[in-house]
């Protein structure tokens, strides 16, 4: 009970912290930072799109807005509202704070469910001593608090970018999939894909989650353990794939996407319809047309690469994400939530317009596996690296853009360091997870 009270205390404190930052003197200017507001998520661009739509032009006219038309209808009126004496976009900022809280709650509930299911399957394997040996952390609370107190999340929330909404949809999808709620999972997945395209690859972990249930030790262990004693029926759910929720998910996903597409085509009726929407949102993301700096490496790459090779490298970079999906899905199919974390981390590294909002999400998901990844290597180095990059990136940007004493390479260097850190994080966490599975296998064979 005391733990619970402490969690809520911290959660409320984080909300208050965000509100304080929103009301902070206006020179904070988080909304202008390239690390926070990308061309796809910037609220200023959304306000421009809304203005264009209000003056009966296509919101996509003028290469300014590249987001969803539905988000425009939801957030647009809020951006146009001005309250006397309040910071601009106050209504949107409050909405983002609420979205952050909802995401944290979803992450917390999912984490708690994951943990209880995991300890259940460990009991099955008589590995409780394995659990008790290490300090047992409440993963859900930790993940939620990481999400709420991560400076990157706070910056993304206060900096008026739409990534809190995208993160909420991804969290909703994983929550629905964990609890076996196919319609909810489908809704979250469709909405997240509609907003930012990259969550489309989450369809694999979500289907695995619905089919196999939440993360468990490797399936072989159950088979080896239970084969003699109690027969096939007593195997936990994790060992056989149940098709019914997966089919339901597909069904619901098609219903939701149909629904979303109809709504989009209604809202863009006079402005070129769905084709225009796909060209301006997905096309813009895939073709990397905007070369303004962000924390990724692709903007500089495509600003420098010879025009002749542009298409080739566009294909290479996007296929890279695809290339890693299948092997990882086969190797980690017993841990769909961890797979989702790896996918999100990889896509946030290779996506065209990354922002700190993306890393905020995968850091929170990392919190779910705090027990399994306890002996992950390089974690201190990673922490220092992230802190260093977070501090250096604005400095280098300032030197290049504002002072003119540095050049583009300075900022590119921090972007590369950031990409490096993400690579190390993904590689190390995957290897730690595989190592964890191996030790479990070893301890079973010993007993």
């Amino acid at each position: 009970m005391a733990k619970l009270r402490r969690f809520w205390g911290w959660a409320i404190a984080s909300m208050l912290f965000r509100l304080a930052l929103i009301y902070f003197p206006r020179n904070l200017n988080f909304g202008f930072r390239p690390e926070i507001a990308t061309p796809v998520t910037s609220l200023r661009r959304l306000a421009e799109g809304y203005w264009l739509k209000q003056s009966s032009m296509s919101p996509y006219a003028g290469s300014m807005y590249h987001g969803s038309p539905l988000l425009l209808s939801l957030l647009g009126p809020l951006t146009a509202k001005r309250f006397e004496g309040q910071p601009s976009h106050i209504a949107c900022s409050l909405l983002f704070v609420v979205a952050d809280l909802v995401t944290a709650m979803l992450i917390r509930t999912t984490g708690q469910y994951l943990q209880s299911a995991y300890s259940q399957s460990l009991k099955h394997l008589n590995l409780m001593r394995h659990l008790e040996a290490s300090a047992f952390h409440p993963a859900g609370d930790i993940a939620a608090l990481i999400y709420l107190w991560n400076p990157l999340t706070v910056a993304a929330c206060v900096g008026s970018s739409t990534s809190p909404i995208e993160n909420m949809m991804v969290a909703l999808s994983l929550y629905g999939a964990c609890l076996g709620l196919s319609p909810l999972a489908a809704f979250g997945w469709v909405a997240a894909t509609h907003l930012s395209l990259y969550p489309a690859i989450l369809i694999i972990p979500v289907i695995l989650l619905l089919g196999y249930g939440p993360d468990s030790p490797p399936r072989k262990l159950f088979l080896g353990r239970n084969f003699g004693s109690s027969g096939y029926e007593s195997l936990p759910q994790a060992c056989h794939f149940s098709w019914r929720p997966a089919v339901y998910f597909i069904l619901w996903a098609s219903i939701w996407s149909f629904f979303v597409l109809v709504l989009c085509s209604i809202s863009l009726m006079q402005y070129g319809g769905l084709f225009e929407m796909f060209r301006r949102t997905y096309g813009f993301i895939l073709a990397i047309e905007d070369l303004s700096p962000n924390i990724g490496v692709l903007w500089y790459f495509f600003a420098e690469v010879f025009d002749f090779f542009r298409d080739f490298f566009l294909i290479v970079f996007h296929v890279n994400i695809m290339f890693m999906i299948l092997p990882l899905a086969m190797r980690l199919n017993h841990r769909p939530c961890f797979l989702a974390f790896v996918y999100i981390a990889i896509s946030s590294m290779l996506k065209s317009y990354p922002s700190v909002g993306d890393s905020a999400l995968y850091f929170a998901l990392l919190g779910w596996f705090v027990n399994e990844l306890a002996d992950m290597k390089c974690s201190f180095f990673l922490l220092c690296g992230y802190v260093g990059v977070t501090l250096l990136s604005p400095v280098m940007h300032n030197l290049w853009i504002w002072r003119g004493t540095g050049n583009a390479n300075f900022y590119y260097a921090t972007a590369m360091a950031y990409a490096c850190l993400q690579i190390i994080l993904v590689v190390e966490s995957v290897s730690a997870m595989l190592h964890h599975d191996r030790t479990m296998k070893k301890s079973i064979s010993q007993s």
Binding site: G62, S63, V297, A303, E304
Partner: protein, 549 residues
């Protein structure tokens, strides 16, 4: 040679006869000279060729340039104006209210606009095109083709005094070409094609006298003549020209100052037209303006054919006057620092002349319409929702001031952004400032010009006062005078002024880095793909698959 020469003469005579007999085409050349308050001189050349419509006259022309005729027919041009300008017209000192400043003062660089006669089924794309190249350097290579359009080139007539060094030494010079055609329209007052070529230059005459300053601190205006400005005299007309004349203009404000002088210094010499000013050649005609009492002295070059014409001015007394300005003086500047974002501000400051135009009694009630037209290149990404209007330093509610706002947002790498704002300002406004925010775009390494760190120019904004017309009406019989330049001045043209060109620096990538960036980024990705654990994952999966097979 002995045979060719008479043949040529015969041919010329025949041609000349042809011209006179079937004279549908006309050409005229005129030059206007005007002293400016800041000791400079404005010289405005005006050449005009007209041809009757094709359906009456046919496709063949004797005077009218073939290139222009073919251009008009190929692109179905209704109106076209192309100007090459170096320097900026100083609206404050050289005036902003007369026909020359509102229709001949052009923005620096090249400006081109055209109205096409578009068939009805293609009308969706619009029939007006506008383009500007603010950085274009203007030189003799632009002047030569322009001169080639004249029937006499610069071999004789008024164009023969166009001395290149004199033109390019000038503070401001603008060569302009304007085509008006009624070939395709059904109705029209003057059918046919009208080609108007003007060259406007502002030069500082060499002051031969040591500038003696008078007790009052006033400086004597420099004496000048055509030969002292251009180094040549007008030695005859272009034989193909219907009319060929030179005008010397004294502005209304100058005339009233001169009249005051006349009262003070009653003793007047014989040859003076006005007290204090002495012309070296007696004018053939004196024309007075109806409204503002400015005076034009006309010199017909034909009458001076026997000896070179060299009009000169001598000033007897120091005199100070100022030109009539537009109701608002328009300036434009950039706000903000850094290469990420900024704002463009267009400021309108009420001039003294506003009171004269509007009148004191109407100041509180009336409203003045101002239209601002602005084209921005795509890498200056304007946020149109951030348009703000400050009247006398106070932020105004935009719908109350902005009558209409029409935008066509820029498309990345495709089209520039266009913004037209119609403001309705109370006449009592002293200053109005319009601001709009923008983000600076980042270009591909190949899209930067050779000197990337110099920055990019944003074309001038056009500030138009649609309610106020800059036109002059001359007393006397206009039809007998039949001068194209004067009839141009009498047309109703809204007062127009151009703002400064803005220089926007953009952030640049490191131009020496393409190979490094490609290799380093690819190495980074390879790091992910080749990390031992991922290799292991892939190998295991491979083994599984091969095992299954």
């Amino acid at each position: 040679m002995g045979i060719i020469q008479p043949v040529m003469i015969v041919a010329l005579v025949v041609l000349g006869c042809f011209n006179l007999c079937y004279g549908g085409e006309e050409f005229s050349e005129e030059l206007l000279l005007r002293p400016l308050p800041d000791r400079k001189v404005l010289a405005h050349f005006h050449f005009e060729s007209t041809t009757p419509p094709t359906k009456d006259y046919g496709h063949h022309h004797h005077l009218f340039p073939k290139a222009i005729y073919q251009l008009v027919h190929k692109f179905r041009i209704r109106e076209l104006e192309l100007s090459f300008t170096q320097g900026r017209w100083n609206y404050e000192r050289w005036g902003g209210y007369d026909p020359i400043s509102s229709s001949n003062a052009k923005p620096p660089g090249v400006e081109l606009w055209a109205i096409f006669d578009v068939p009805l089924d293609q009308q969706s794309s619009g029939s007006i095109r506008y383009g500007a190249l603010p950085r274009e350097a203007v030189c003799t290579e632009n002047l030569t083709p322009w001169l080639k359009l004249l029937p006499c080139r610069d071999k004789s007539g008024l164009a023969s005094i166009l001395d290149r060094p004199a033109i390019y030494r000038a503070f401001y010079h603008s060569q302009r070409l304007r085509i008006t055609s009624n070939e395709f329209g059904s109705e029209g007052i003057e059918p046919g094609i009208d080609l108007e070529q003007t060259l406007t230059i502002v030069v500082q005459p060499d002051d031969q006298r040591t500038s003696t300053s008078y007790s009052s601190g006033k400086m004597l205006q420099p004496d000048w003549s055509i030969s002292s400005i251009f180094g040549r005299k007008i030695s005859g007309t272009c034989v193909l020209a219907r009319s060929s004349s030179v005008f010397f203009e004294l502005e209304s404000t100058l005339v009233s100052e001169l009249n005051k002088l006349g009262v003070d210094n009653a003793a007047s010499d014989g040859d003076q037209v006005y007290p204090g000013v002495e012309l070296s050649v007696a004018p053939d005609q004196v024309i007075k303006e109806r409204k503002s009492s400015s005076v034009l002295f006309e010199f017909s070059v034909k009458k001076h054919d026997y000896k070179p014409l060299d009009i000169g001015v001598k000033w007897k007394y120091p005199i100070v006057w100022s030109c009539v300005q537009a109701p608002f003086q328009a300036n434009r500047f950039l706000m903000g620092s850094g290469n990420e974002r900024g704002s463009i501000a267009i400021s309108l400051k009420a001039t003294d002349h506003q009171r004269i135009i509007v009148g004191d009694e109407f100041r509180d009630k009336c409203e003045m319409r101002v239209v601002i037209f602005q084209v921005v290149p795509w890498y200056v990404k304007i946020y149109f929702h951030t348009v703000q209007v400050f009247l006398d330093g106070r932020l105004e509610h935009t719908p109350a001031v902005i009558e209409k706002i029409q935008v066509s947002p820029s498309e990345d790498r495709v089209s520039p952004g266009v913004m037209e704002i119609a403001l309705r300002l109370p006449c009592s406004t002293v200053s109005a400032v319009i601001t709009v925010n923008f983000d600076k775009g980042f270009l591909h390494i190949d899209e930067y010009p050779p000197d990337a760190n110099q920055g990019y120019d944003i074309p001038s904004a056009v500030v138009r006062f649609p309610d106020i017309q800059a036109s002059t009406y001359y007393l006397g019989d206009n039809s007998s005078r039949n001068s194209p330049i004067l009839s141009k001045f009498q047309e109703n043209n809204p007062v127009l002024s151009y703002t400064e060109v803005l220089l926007v620096p953009l952030a640049t990538p490191d131009f020496s880095m393409p190979y490094n960036v490609i290799t380093i980024t690819c190495t980074l990705l390879e790091k992910l793909l080749s990390s031992p654990d991922f290799v292991q994952v892939v190998q295991q999966v491979e083994r599984k698959i091969t095992g299954a097979i």
